[in-house]
């Protein structure tokens, strides 16, 4: 079962898509401008950003805009919400909203949660200053432009001033085999608002292909506090391109955890901008790759104002011939004195053929800051395996235990129990026999 798609992202398909949407003029104009940019730009190749990510096998013309809603969608199940009391839940299939609900208690207090498609029509004036205007640059590259022109579905989380949403808001984006997801996530927390958002993706076929070309925008007003978990768990044939950016105003606080398990090739730009004094961002990453998967994460912690703190910890385990790329930058502007920033990437190599590229970087223009970084890559210690086996564990159990211990440091930072357990289980299932050669 899949939705109907128009072959290729053609001018005709784009015009038909625009014609059937009931959108405000300002949004239509932004889409048209982004479409022009999309047509001008080539598929990226080379340069520092793309030299490790080879897109020669990617055929954009094999994909197109999802045009018709699914008739009877057999959506895959999510993992993260099991047993968790939720404040709201939204499910989409190939970008199209299937189901959304929000606890009326929070709706009465002005919280908006659900499909961005519908809410942008009803609350256009509220969203206009935020949507693809302050965070993600719609003209950054071909994928950002395609997304800005053709985004559909996705999720809006809007929490008014001073409101705290005590239970998680949950989103599940699902994809048919060969399907296309162009979902946009926009999270806006007004002053002193508080929320927890848990999002995940899934494919109807775990080996299936498809395309995700998406964006996440997080806008935190002064004093806002957000915990956000985002698990990428597409099928192993999916191409995943994403621009993700958070802007934190004065004293705002963000804990952002990403998990990456699926996808054939992923290229993600994750950017945290501390634009107000005293903002705090913690970024956690958990990656597990296998087969010939290629996941590339380009992170930026940008300190624009004084007294900001940011702390990034990415941990990856690599199996088979998979390839993980992390290129991280801490950028401190001249005015951002008293910045305290850290970034770290650890990789555990579970096969001889896997490859990890860790490229940390600092660009510091202020003179009273503390910024540091670290990166490690190593194999499973045979002595540890031997010890565990001498205590009665099989080799496979021993390796699983060591992998689990490797991730514990980042799991300890995830405050939501279900997320910790699900990630731990999903990774444990993927670990195969480790044989040192």
């Amino acid at each position: 079962m899949s939705t109907t798609t128009e072959a290729g992202f053609t001018q005709e398909a784009f015009e038909a898509f625009l014609a059937e949407r009931r959108e405000p003029d300002w949004l239509r104009r932004r889409r048209l401008e982004a479409w022009r940019r999309f047509e001008e730009l080539p598929i990226p190749r080379g340069g520092e950003e793309w030299r490790r990510t080879d897109l020669r096998a990617f055929r954009l013309q094999r994909f197109g805009l999802p045009l018709l809603p699914p008739a009877e969608a057999a959506t895959p199940e999510g993992l993260l919400a099991e047993g968790v009391p939720l404040a709201g839940r939204a499910v989409s299939f190939d970008s199209l909203s299937l189901h959304e609900e929000l606890d009326p208690h929070f709706a009465r207090r002005g919280v908006l949660f659900g499909s961005l498609d519908d809410l942008v029509f009803e609350h256009g004036d509220l969203l206009r200053p935020h949507l693809l205007a302050r965070a993600v640059d719609p003209h950054y590259d071909k994928f950002a432009a395609l997304h800005a022109a053709c985004w559909q579905g996705g999720t809006l989380v809007y929490v008014p001033r001073g409101v705290a949403v005590g239970r998680p808001l949950y989103t599940l984006s699902t994809l048919s085999s060969g399907g296309v997801d162009l979902g946009h996530t926009l999270i806006v927390l007004e002053e002193d608002a508080e929320a927890t958002v848990v999002g995940e993706t899934a494919s109807s076929d775990s080996e299936g292909g498809g395309l995700h070309c998406g964006a996440i925008e997080i806008l935190l007003a002064p004093g806002a506090r957000l915990r956000y978990v985002n698990l990428q768990n597409w099928g192993n044939g999916v191409w995943h391109f994403a621009h993700q950016k958070a802007r934190l105003d004065r004293d705002a606080s963000l804990q952002w955890t990403i998990g990456a398990l699926g996808g054939r090739l992923a290229k993600v730009n994750q950017h945290v901008a501390l634009v107000g004094e005293g903002a705090h961002a913690q970024v956690n990453g958990v990656m597990f790759t296998e087969g010939r998967q290629h996941l590339a994460y380009h992170t930026l912690q940008h300190h624009e104002t004084p007294r900001g703190t940011s702390d990034l910890l990415y941990k990856g385990a690599l199996q088979d011939r998979s390839h993980l790329v992390w290129r991280g930058m801490i950028k401190v502007d001249p005015d951002a004195q008293k910045t305290d920033a850290y970034q770290r990437n650890d990789n555990l190599m579970l096969s001889e053929q896997a490859r990890a590229d860790s490229i940390p970087g600092l660009e510091i223009e202020a003179d009273d800051v503390r910024c540091s970084h670290g990166a490690t890559a190593g194999r499973v210690d045979e002595e540890q395996i031997f010890y565990a086996q001498s205590r009665g564990l099989t080799r496979k159990e021993a390796v699983r235990m060591i992998v689990s211990g490797f991730f514990q440091q980042v799991f300890d930072r995830i405050a939501i129990d279900s997320v910790r357990e699900v990630l731990g289980r999903a990774i444990g299932r993927r670990v195969r026999e480790y044989q040192e050669t």
């Binding site: 490790r52 096998a57 390839h323 053929q353």
Partner: protein, 105 residues
């Protein structure tokens, strides 16, 4: 199991010469040198550079990024900065057709 798959006609590659092909979601470089046919992954094991864009010197291909050299007949890394072999694929010619069998690596 991998099998021989046609990639081009013999006249598509001059001698000496090379060309890059996509075979079963992998990119490989096919070489024709002194009447011999060889194929390697189009990937330098040092930094992932595209070997197919490099120069040939004798039976060596030179990575265009950092100058690592690989033996075209085996895939072995010959100079720094590469230290590991790049996968070698068997090539055979049947009539006008050039066929490649991907290594399991």
């Amino acid at each position: 199991m991998s099998q021989f798959l046609p990639v081009c006609k013999i006249d598509d590659i001059p001698d000496p010469g090379k060309a890059v092909f996509e075979v079963d979601d992998r990119f490989i470089v096919v070489f024709r040198l002194d009447g011999e046919w060889h194929a390697l992954d189009d990937c330098c094991t040092h930094d992932g550079g595209p070997l197919g864009e490099g120069d040939i010197e004798g039976f060596q291909i030179i990575c265009p990024r950092h100058g690592a050299r690989f033996d075209i007949r085996t895939g072995r890394a010959m100079t720094m900065p590469a230290v590991r072999a790049t996968p070698y694929h068997q090539v055979k010619v049947e009539g006008d057709d050039v066929l490649v069998k991907l290594s399991e690596e």
